[in-house]
Amino acid sequence: MIIKVYRLFILRRYLQSWRQSLLTLFGLALGVTVFVSIHLTVGASLKSFKKTVQAVSGKAEWQLVREGKEIEEDLFPQIKKHPEVQAAAPVVEFSSTLHRPPNQAILIIGLDYFSEREFGRYSGALSSLTEADLLALLLTPRAVALPREFAAQVGLKKGDSFSVLVNGRYQKLTVAVLLDGRGTTQVFGGQMGLMDIAQAQEVFGKRGGLDRIDLILREGGEEDIRLQELKAILPPGVRWIPAGGREQGTERMIRSYQLNLTALSFIAVLVGMYLIYNTASLSVARRRKDLGVLRSLGMLPGQILRLILWEAAGYGLIGGLLGILGGWVLAGFLLETVSRTINDLYAMVGVADIPFSPSETLLFLLLSIAASMISAYLPARQASRLEPREVLYQKTGLIGPVKSRNWKLTLGGLGLLLVSLPLTWLPPWDHWPVGGFASTLTLTLGFSLLLPGGIRWGINRLFISRLKRKKGFISAWLGGNYVNRYAGRMAVSMAALMIAVAMLISIGLMIRSFRQGVDNWISRSVSGDLFVGPIFPSNQGFSQFMDPRVVEEIKSMKELAHVYAYRGVSTDLRGYSLRIWSGDLAVIQRYGGLSFTQGKGEDIFNQALNAEGILVSEILAGQLHLKPGDRLEMMTAGGPHSFSVAGVFYDYRTEGGAVWMDRTLFLRYWQDPRINGLRLYLKDPSKINPVRESILKRFADRSTLVIISNRELRDQILKIFDQTFHITYILEAIAVLMAFLGILHSSAISVLFRERELGILKAVGAASGQVRRMILTETTLMGIFSLIWGAASGTLLSLILIFVINKQSFGWTIPFHWSGTIYLQTLGIIVLGSFFSGWIPSRMAVRKSAQEMIREE
């Protein structure tokens, strides 16, 4: 019948202390909500990205690609006929934007419909095409098949025409077929179209060229040997890669983003766990006598332990269910913010909804229950060790002495702080800053353990001794005394608030430093008065080229001092995403373009200009362990070539590593003269607007150009930067709210817990206002001490975030930028928040009469 005892004690406890139960559930549910929502939103984006890769690859095993240049289409028949090849399919891809709605992204894929059968791509969307559809796609000029949902979204129907931007001009296409089936919605978030490959080559200026050839090899034999045989017929510069191999780098970056957000969201769970610990320990303290009676009646210590753990598991179950529900709702709100950030930084993903996964839901629930039980373990163990004799014969009317273990906690805290330093020296594990995360954990725990001793010392020295029984300060003095006396109990809620404060300050300092770093970097590295191109500089920028005649005419304009014409190529290197930028480095050198991690700029540029040197970004140097003087082998359009690293430059582009080289070097090895865009340096920089208007007017009938000023580009970069951190601010706000909930929770429980004491105070003459002020002093003191601790730990955490976690996760060096404003803002939030957190408990404390409070014990 032990189950009945459990049921009686647990259920009645929930019902009797329903306010406390609700507060605990709400706090835990909020923590689970944050964790679940982050997991669901970033997970949905990652899943969408992987589905895109999967849907595009289909059954393809290998891909033939060439860096920065198309493959000659003559190769395709040779490949298809090769005895080792079971199936081959040529592909042309073009990223662009629609004319209407403006800036609507679209990926158009040119296919040979007849080669596609064996690849089963787009989850069967192609196999559902009828003969009439195929004829329409092949015979209608510039015919496109659009997913039905996407067509409806942009207001198109079968037979309509629409325009897409192609190298500075809008080209008309016709909707010949509407595609059904889930597969099409998985590619590029459904923002895609399919075309016959010959028509795509024609429209997108890729006549005679292919972006890739997808392959399925025949079964049997050693794959390596067969690939070697195939290699023999490949022209220089063409290489094979595993299908979807190029996307590995992007996936790695999205995973890194997910890891960092998950770590951040875990703080909310941690705060929730603190609430459970608090509830469990106060529940044990309040029921000492009941538990003593149970023990005296023959309940075993293990049964007492399980009683408390099951009670916590109940919170975990209900809080988990509520949190999962809340997580779904919050994920719906966060989805747009998260996918916009991923689109801006990594790759286009289109996530329309959050997929439901029963196994994931069950996992969240189990995690919530496990987290609650872990949080309650220590109080449960303490309860199981109660001696019935001690408890039952405890002196009437007195709460037992609070055992002081300050010195042990302080020693433990100092030990953890000491350990946190060497942890930061650990190298990353597969680019995951394991040491950095471990260091933040030990640092946070260390500060938490130092809290009780610190509170006692601080409140005694700075508060109680100064206020000691001064006229008019009795309420404050009593409040201070209470916090001092019960520092051990209060410390848990204060630690939760301390963590939230540390999070506010460390992330605030990190973002401030990062933003300042990016701003300085833009000033130093993004030179040029005007930026000209067919499309706004973005992820799709490299597939669009400028008309060479337009480039030459702009170059000859007399208002310009210099023109920097650049070409970018997206590729991958040893599993990392990479962008190669080429242009006239002499212009960059002249206008102070790049800032190097070491060496003299002049020497580095000389080597890059005269000795086939390349400049690599700090991120790439970190990923591939490169330093000046090393050699880096890259696949060029003419085959592999080893380049000398002339210098390593600071770079805050988030899409991975970058290599810069002079245009002459690029032309030598890639033999591709096309230009993506121009940077214009004006003789008179004050004439930005007249020059911009003159260019737009001059080429209005020949080319669609986007021209933005340095200031506009800078603003756009910083806008994307700020958008990236929107989600961080949301998470921070929730963590702070939860921490205040912790203070409210702790204070409310302490009011319930010492109801008798408050009754005595009132009985001996304390006015309601005095009791209220005492409670408000307590919560404000709790807030202030959490703030002091949080500020100290947050400052140290910001150093770990900046110099360890960011460096190891993304490869950036961010100069630390201290800001007093963050501390002042946090001070305001915490003092006001803690004061108001005490409001409800202070009302609770005076609700009952003294006589009721004393009698009810």
């Binding site: 009437t396 009317g397 007195l398 002495p401 029984r469 006229k471 004491e757 105070l761 003459g765 309601s768």
Partner: protein, 225 residues
């Protein structure tokens, strides 16, 4: 004029089993300097009557005058000030504040009244001497024996020089020897300083020290002698 005057006091509580009539038509007058014992079995209404006089509770009907002042008509704030300045209460379970030391517990009502440490120290010292607790002044409540705790409670009740001391089962949690010591302190206060004291108790030890013993049963005064 009596210091304390109760006229037709009744008190009822609602309960699941119907209305509980804790006090029924109590008329009582206590003169300045009297020591009165309220006796009777558990549940007869002694504590309720003390709570009425100490302004911890309000009667359902009737009047209570203390020093000529009708206390049932006082606002909550005035009742608090009345408790703080006019009444000293001693409880069966001592009701000391665990986080405070002995001297802090004693000084508390005076600090609540706005006096600072300097203005309170002399009085605390005198009460520590009077209750023989000087050697325990820095101890906290849980470090004291039951008798010591009750002596501290008496000292606390006296700090604001109240007109009346109310003691609710002051010996209920003490052994007979310690209980006798506590009663003798109360008797000495009454005899030495003319302090008005009302003691609620179900034991008979206090009867010999009291001027009057009022016997209660079922919320009514059975006899007053």
């Amino acid at each position: 004029m009596p210091l304390i005057e109760l006229r037709n006091i009744s008190k009822s509580y609602p309960s699941e089993a119907g209305e509980v009539r804790a006090l029924q038509g109590i008329d009582l007058a206590v003169a300045q300097g009297e020591m009165v014992v309220l006796s009777g079995k558990s549940g007869c209404g002694k504590t309720t009557l003390l709570n009425m006089i100490g302004a911890l509770d309000r009667p359902s009907s009737g009047e209570i005058r203390v020093d000529g002042r009708e206390i049932t008509l006082l606002s909550e704030k005035e009742r608090t000030l009345f408790r703080r300045r006019q009444v000293g209460t001693i409880f069966q379970s001592f009701n000391l504040i665990p986080m405070l030391t002995v001297e802090e517990n004693i000084a508390l009502p005076r600090w609540l009244d706005g006096f600072d440490d300097q203005e309170t120290a002399g009085l605390v010292e005198a009460l520590l001497v009077q209750t023989e607790m000087t050697h325990r002044r820095k101890h906290r409540a849980h470090e004291l024996s039951g008798g010591e705790q009750q002596r501290v409670a008496i000292a606390r009740a006296l700090i604001n020089s109240p007109r009346v001391i109310l003691a609710d089962e002051p010996t209920g949690n003490l052994d007979s020897h310690t209980g006798a010591q506590v009663l003798s302190i109360l008797a000495a206060l009454n005899q030495g300083k003319g302090q008005t004291i009302i003691i609620a108790t179900h034991s008979r030890e206090a009867d010999v020290l009291a001027h009057r013993v009022i016997h209660l049963r079922d919320g009514k005064i059975l006899d007053d002698h």
